[in-house]
C-alpha cells in the first residue's frame, strides 16, 4: 500500500499555496517589526514554518484511521492539558493560554482544534442513521462543549469560537433536520442577550459594542477597528510600500504582526495585494474542499471539510475584523500571523488533509 503514498501524490498545489501565503506573511512580519523590539519575529516565524513543514509531514504519515482510533485518548489528553493549563499555565496578556518554558510557549488550544476535527469526524462517521437526531446534537455538543468551555475560561473566546464551525460544518454535512436548525436558531436568539450580560466579560462586551458602533468608543476597542480601517483605506489601490505604511510603522495599528497583520498588509500592499492574498486563501480552501470530495470515506471527508470550515471561519473573522465587518475577537490569520503554535497547528491540519488525500485509493 505504501506504493500509493508516493511523493507525486502529495498535494503539492496545497503546499505551494500555503507557502506563498506564509512568505507574504513573513515579509509583512518583517515590515511591521523591523524597527521594534520584535524585530527578530520574522526569522522566528521562518523557523516555525519550517517546523510546520516537518509537523505536516509527520501528520501525513500516520494513517488518519489510526488517529481516529485514538480519539478518546487524544480527547482525554486535550481536556486534561487544558485544565492543567488553566490551573498552572503561565499568564500572558491577562489570559492563560500558554504552556511551556519562558522562551517557547505552546498554545494548547491551537492543537485542540486538531482533536476537535478528529472527534467530530469520528462521531459523525459512526452515526447509525442518515438523519442527525437531537440526541446526537446534544452528545456531540457536549463533547465539543467541554474543551470549548475550558478555552473560554482561559479566557480566549476567539479560539473557543473556532471549535464551533468544525462542529456546525460537520452537522450540516451529516444532514440535520431543518426543524432542529430552526429550533437552534430560536434558542440561540433567546440565549444571546442573556449570554451578553451574564457570560461575557466587560472587555468582551466592549468589543461587541465597538463592533456595532466603533465611533462610540474611539479610545478602547473601537480604537483598534478605527485604526485598522484607516490603515486599510490609506493603502488604497497599490499600497504604500513595504515599511512605508505610517499606520503600521507608527504602531497606530495594534499588534500589526499578529492579529492585525492583514491590516498592515493591506496598508502596505493595497487592494491589489489584498486580492492576491485572498485569492491564495480561496484557492487553498478550494483545494482542501477538493480533497474532501475525493476522500475515500466519510471520515476523511469530514476531516477535510472540518478543516476547511475552520480555516474559512478564521479568515472570515480575522479579515472581517480588519475591515470592521466582524467584531474584534483576537484570533490569528492562519499562515500569516506571527506565532508558533498557530503555524504548527495549521500545518498539522494541512497534514491531515494530505493524509486523507494520500489514502484516497486505499481502504
Amino acid at each position: 500500500m505504501s506504493a500509493y503514498r508516493s511523493v507525486r501524490d502529495f498535494d503539492w498545489l496545497m503546499l505551494v499555496l500555503a507557502s506563498a501565503i506564509c512568505a507574504l506573511g513573513v515579509l509583512q512580519i518583517f515590515s511591521a517589526t523591523h524597527d521594534t523590539h520584535y524585530s527578530d519575529a520574522w526569522w522566528k516565524q521562518v523557523i516555525w514554518i519550517l517546523a510546520g513543514f516537518v509537523a505536516m509531514w509527520i501528520t501525513t504519515l500516520v494513517d488518519y484511521h489510526t488517529l481516529l482510533g485514538q480519539v478518546p485518548i487524544l480527547y482525554g489528553l486535550s481536556v486534561t492539558t487544558l485544565i492543567a493549563t488553566y490551573v498552572l499555565g503561565m499568564s500572558a496578556f491577562g489570559s492563560r493560554r500558554w504552556i511551556g518554558t519562558t522562551s517557547y510557549h505552546l498554545q494548547v488550544s491551537e492543537f485542540v482544534k486538531l482533536v476537535i476535527v478528529l472527534l467530530v469526524a469520528r462521531y459523525l462517521t459512526e452515526l447509525k442513521t442518515d438523519q442527525f437526531e437531537l440526541i446526537d446534537l446534544l452528545k456531540l455538543g457536549g463533547l465539543v462543549g467541554v474543551p470549548m468551555l475550558l478555552v473560554m475560561l482561559q479566557p480566549d473566546l476567539g479560539t473557543a469560537l473556532t471549535f464551533l464551525p468544525i462542529m456546525v460544518g460537520g452537522i450540516f454535512l451529516a444532514g440535520m433536520r431543518w426543524q432542529y436548525a430552526a429550533a437552534i436558531v430560536v434558542v440561540v436568539a433567546l440565549v444571546m442577550p442573556v449570554a451578553y450580560f451574564v457570560v461575557l466579560k466587560d472587555y468582551q462586551r466592549a468589543r461587541v459594542v465597538s463592533f456595532l458602533d466603533p465611533s462610540q468608543d474611539p479610545k478602547g476597542s473601537g480604537y483598534q477597528v478605527i485604526q485598522s480601517k484607516i490603515a486599510v483605506g490609506a493603502g488604497a489601490l497599490w499600497g504604500r510600500g513595504v515599511t512605508k505604511g505610517t499606520q503600521t510603522q507608527g504602531r497606530f495599528l495594534p499588534v500589526p504582526h499578529k492579529d492585525f497583520i492583514f491590516s498592515a498588509f493591506a496598508e502596505e500592499h493595497g487592494f491589489v495585494g489584498v486580492i492576491v492574498v485572498l485569492g491564495l486563501y480561496f484557492l487553498l480552501l478550494m483545494q482542501i474542499v477538493q480533497n474532501a470530495q475525493t476522500a475515500p470515506d466519510r471520515s476523511g471527508m469530514y476531516i477535510c471539510m472540518g478543516i476547511a470550515a475552520l480555516l474559512l471561519f478564521h479568515v472570515l473573522v480575522n479579515v472581517g475584523m480588519v475591515v470592521g465587518r466582524m467584531p474584534v475577537t483576537g484570533i490569528p490569520l492562519p499562515l500569516m500571523s506571527s506565532g508558533g503554535s498557530n503555524a504548527l497547528a495549521v500545518f498539522m491540519l494541512l497534514g491531515l488533509v494530505n493524509n486523507v488525500r494520500l489514502r484516497r485509493f486505499v481502504n
Partner: protein
C-alpha cells in the same frame, strides 16, 4: 487512467458498505463552496469600500495620525553689558504645547488635572486661539518649565490612544540676573496679550508669541526676538518622533544686544539703594551712554520668564511701592535745591544777577505778602555761597528778579520738561512750569508768587532722575546735551543739543557746585579723595505736601532726598543723579552718588594698571553705605557672568 479504474473497482468492492459512501454529501459540499465564495466576496467588498471607493478619507486620517507640525522656537538674543559680560542669558527648558490638529476639548479636563493647570483658564486660552484664527498648525503653549514629574505625565499620556495633542517642545527661556539687578532697564518678556494684539504696535505678532513687555526687552524686541521656525515630523502612536519630514522654516535666532551699562557700576549702584526707595542714574555726559540705572524696589524678572502666576502679578501690582515702576525715568518729583544751579545759570544768562549779587538771609524773606522760609540763617550770601549753602533766601531773590518763562527757558534748555528720548518705553516728561503751561493746564494766569517756589525747585516743577543726571552732566561739559541711551550700537540718536550759554557763567555755577562738595557745603559727604567731585543736594517736599500737611500719610510723605554730581570737575566723565524717596535730606543722598563714582574711578584706575594684582581693593570709606563685600562688585553680578 489505471488509477481511475482502480478506484471504480474499489468502490464496487465496498458497495456493500453504504455507510461509507461520501456521495450523499456532494451537494452540501457544493453549498459550502458557494458559502466560501460568498464569504470572500463579503470580505473583498469591505476592502473595495475602504481602499478603492474613498481611500482619500483614510489617507487624510492616517496623515492626521502620524504627521505633526512642531514649532522650532528661536532663542532670543542675549543682553550684554558694555564689556561684553552677559546680563541676560537663556536656559533650556521644556514647554508643553497643545497641538491643535488633534485637539479634543474633552481632553482638557484630564490634562488640566494631571498637570495642575486651572481648567477654566485653559479652556479660555484654547478658545482664544480658536477665535483669533491663529493658523491651525500653530500649537498652544500651556505650561512652561515642566518639572520631571510633569514631563513623566506627558510622556506617559501623549500616545495616540490618550492625549495625542500633548507636545513637549524644547525651548530657551529667559534667565535674568538675581535680586532684580537692572530689572527695570532690561524689562521682561511675556506672551503677547489679547489687548496688545488689538493695538497697532503689536498687531504684527501672533497669538502665543513671546515678546518684550518692558524695558530693553520691549524697546529692542525686534532685534532680540528671532523668527520661529517650523518642521513637520512623522510620529508614532506614542507621540515619539520617527523622522523629520520637512524643515518648513528654519528658526532664526535673535541677535545679541550690547548695552552701555557697566555691570560693576550697576552692581554697586544696586547695593547703595538696597532697602531704599528711589533711583540712581549714572551716565557719561560726553556720549549720553548710561552706565548704571537702578530703580528700587525692584522685581524679579524671572517671574515673567514663563507665564507669570496670577498671585505673583497681583503682589507686584498691589505693592504700594510700585516695584514695576522704573523710578529712574518715571518718578516725576520736585527737584528741590538741585534745581538751584539751573536757576543760577538762568539768572546769570539773563543778566538778572551777577556773581556778586548779594542777599542777606535771616531765615527767609517775604514776597507778595507771604513769608518764604529758608532752611537756615545764612547771613550775607552771594552766588557762590548761595549754592554751597543752598540758601533758599538767595534763590527766592534770584527768582524774583526773573520772569517764570526765563527760568522755564533755561530749564528746558538743560532738558527738563520733556523726555530725554532714552531707549526705554514709558519715559515721563516731568514738568517745567511756565505761563503757557499754566494756561494750558489750569486756564489760569501765572502768579509771580509761584515763581518764588519754582526758584528753589518746588511748586509745580518735577523732574526724573535720568533728566537730572543728563541735565547737570550736559551743563558740566559746557552745555552740550547728548541723548541718554542704553545700547552701544544701533540706538536711534538725535544729535546733541548745544545750548547757547556763556561758558564763563557755566564755570561760575560749577564752581559753586564744587564748593557744595569740597568747601563744607551740604554735599560734603560726596567727597572723593583725589577726585574733584561737584554736585548739589536737594531736599524736596512732595508736590502736594502743602495740601496734605494736616493729614497723616506716614512715611510716604517724608521729604525726598536728591543728589546730583559729576566728576572730575575739570573734565567730567560721569554724572550721577540719585533720588532717595523719603530720604529726608539731600545730605543723605550724597554718599550714594559718591559710592557709585568711587566704583567708577576705582575701576578706571584698575584698568590703567592691568599688570598689578588687585588682591586688596581699597577699604570702603568711613561711613560708607557699602558693606565690605560690595568692594568685590563683579562677584555680586555673578548670576550673569559670561
Amino acid at each position: 487512467m489505471k488509477l481511475h479504474a482502480d478506484r471504480e473497482e474499489h468502490r464496487l468492492s465496498v458497495s456493500g458498505l453504504l455507510r461509507d459512501d461520501t456521495t450523499f454529501a456532494s451537494g452540501k459540499i457544493a453549498f459550502f463552496q458557494y458559502v466560501t465564495v460568498g464569504v470572500f466576496l463579503f470580505l473583498i467588498t469591505g476592502f473595495w469600500e475602504l481602499q478603492v471607493r474613498n481611500p482619500e478619507v483614510y489617507q487624510e486620517r492616517a496623515m492626521q495620525n502620524s504627521i505633526k507640525a512642531i514649532p522650532v522656537l528661536a532663542p532670543r538674543g542675549k543682553i550684554l553689558d558694555r564689556d561684553g559680560r552677559v546680563i541676560v542669558d537663556n536656559h533650556s527648558s521644556f514647554s508643553l504645547f497643545l497641538s491643535r490638529e488633534n485637539l479634543k476639548m474633552e481632553h482638557l479636563k484630564p490634562i488640566a488635572e494631571g498637570l495642575n493647570i486651572d481648567y477654566d483658564s485653559l479652556v479660555a486660552r484654547v478658545r482664544r486661539f480658536q477665535t483669533r484664527g491663529a493658523p491651525q498648525y500653530q500649537p498652544i503653549a500651556i505650561k512652561e518649565e515642566l518639572t520631571p514629574a510633569e514631563l513623566a505625565f506627558v510622556e506617559s499620556h501623549k500616545d495616540a490612544d490618550t492625549f495625542p495633542e500633548l507636545e513637549v517642545i524644547h525651548v530657551q527661556h529667559r534667565l535674568y540676573p538675581r535680586d532684580g539687578l537692572a530689572a527695570h532697564v532690561i524689562g521682561y518678556v511675556g506672551e503677547v496679550s489679547e489687548v496688545e494684539l488689538n493695538t497697532p504696535e503689536f498687531a504684527r505678532f501672533r497669538q502665543g508669541d513671546v515678546i518684550g513687555k518692558d524695558g530693553i526687552e520691549r524697546e529692542y524686541n525686534d532685534l532680540l526676538m528671532g523668527v520661529d521656525g517650523q518642521r513637520r515630523v512623522e510620529v508614532d502612536s506614542f507621540g515619539n518622533e520617527r523622522r523629520v519630514l520637512a524643515e518648513d522654516k528654519e528658526a532664526v535666532p535673535g541677535k545679541s544686544l550690547q548695552l552701555t551699562l557697566d555691570l560693576d557700576l550697576q552692581a554697586v549702584a544696586e547695593l547703595t539703594m538696597e532697602n531704599r526707595r528711589g533711583a540712581v542714574v549714572a551716565l557719561d555726559p560726553r556720549t549720553g551712554e548710561v552706565l548704571a540705572m537702578v530703580s528700587r524696589p525692584a522685581f524679579d524678572p524671572n517671574l515673567f520668564a514663563g507665564r507669570i502666576r496670577t498671585k505673583d502679578w497681583k503682589d507686584l501690582i498691589d505693592n504700594p511701592d510700585h516695584p514695576l515702576m522704573n523710578r529712574a525715568i518715571q518718578a516725576q518729583q520736585a527737584p528741590g535745591s538741585t534745581f538751584k544751579p539751573i536757576v543760577a545759570l538762568a539768572g546769570l544768562e539773563t543778566g538778572a544777577i551777577d556773581e556778586n549779587f548779594h542777599v542777606n538771609c535771616g531765615g527767609g524773606a517775604s514776597f507778595y505778602g507771604r513769608f518764604f522760609k529758608c532752611w537756615s540763617r545764612h547771613g550775607g550770601v552771594e552766588l557762590h555761597r548761595g549754592l554751597v549753602q543752598s540758601c533758599d533766601t538767595f534763590f527766592y531773590n534770584v527768582g524774583n528778579r526773573m520772569n517764570i518763562d526765563d527760568i522755564a527757558h533755561y530749564a528746558e534748555m538743560v532738558g527738563y520738561g520733556h523726555k530725554t528720548g532714552i531707549d526705554l518705553p514709558h519715559e515721563a516728561d516731568g514738568v517745567v512750569p511756565s505761563t503757557k503751561w499754566k494756561i494750558r493746564n489750569f486756564r489760569e494766569k501765572w502768579y509771580p508768587g509761584e515763581t518764588i517756589s519754582v526758584s528753589i525747585g518746588q511748586g509745580a516743577t518735577t523732574v526724573t532722575p535720568l533728566q537730572m543726571a543728563a541735565a547737570i552732566g550736559g551743563m558740566a561739559i559746557g552745555g552740550v546735551w547728548n541723548q541718554p541711551h542704553l545700547v552701544r550700537e544701533g540706538a536711534r540718536l538725535i544729535p546733541a543739543r548745544h545750548g547757547e550759554l556763556n561758558q564763563e557763567n557755566i564755570k561760575k555755577v560749577i564752581s559753586g557746585m564744587y564748593g557744595v562738595v569740597n568747601e563744607g557745603g551740604t554735599g560734603v559727604r560726596a567727597r572723593l579723595p583725589g577726585i574733584n567731585v561737584a554736585g548739589k543736594t536737594g531736599t524736596a517736599q512732595l508736590a502736594s505736601n502743602e495740601v496734605l500737611k494736616g493729614t497723616k500719610i506716614g512715611q510716604t510723605m517724608k521729604d525726598n532726598a536728591w543728589f546730583v554730581g559729576f566728576a572730575p570737575v575739570e573734565n567730567p566723565e560721569i554724572a550721577v543723579a540719585t533720588l532717595f524717596e523719603g530720604g529726608q535730606h539731600g545730605q543723605l543722598a550724597a554718599p550714594i552718588v559718591r559710592d557709585v563714582m568711587k566704583a567708577y574711578f576705582d575701576k578706571k584706575a584698575r584698568l590703567a594698571q592691568p599688570h598689578e594684582q588687585i588682591a586688596s581693593l581699597p577699604a570702603p570709606l568711613p561711613g560708607s553705605l557699602l558693606r565690605p563685600t560690595a568692594a568685590v562688585a563683579p562677584a555680586r553680578a555673578g548670576a550673569s557672568k559670561p
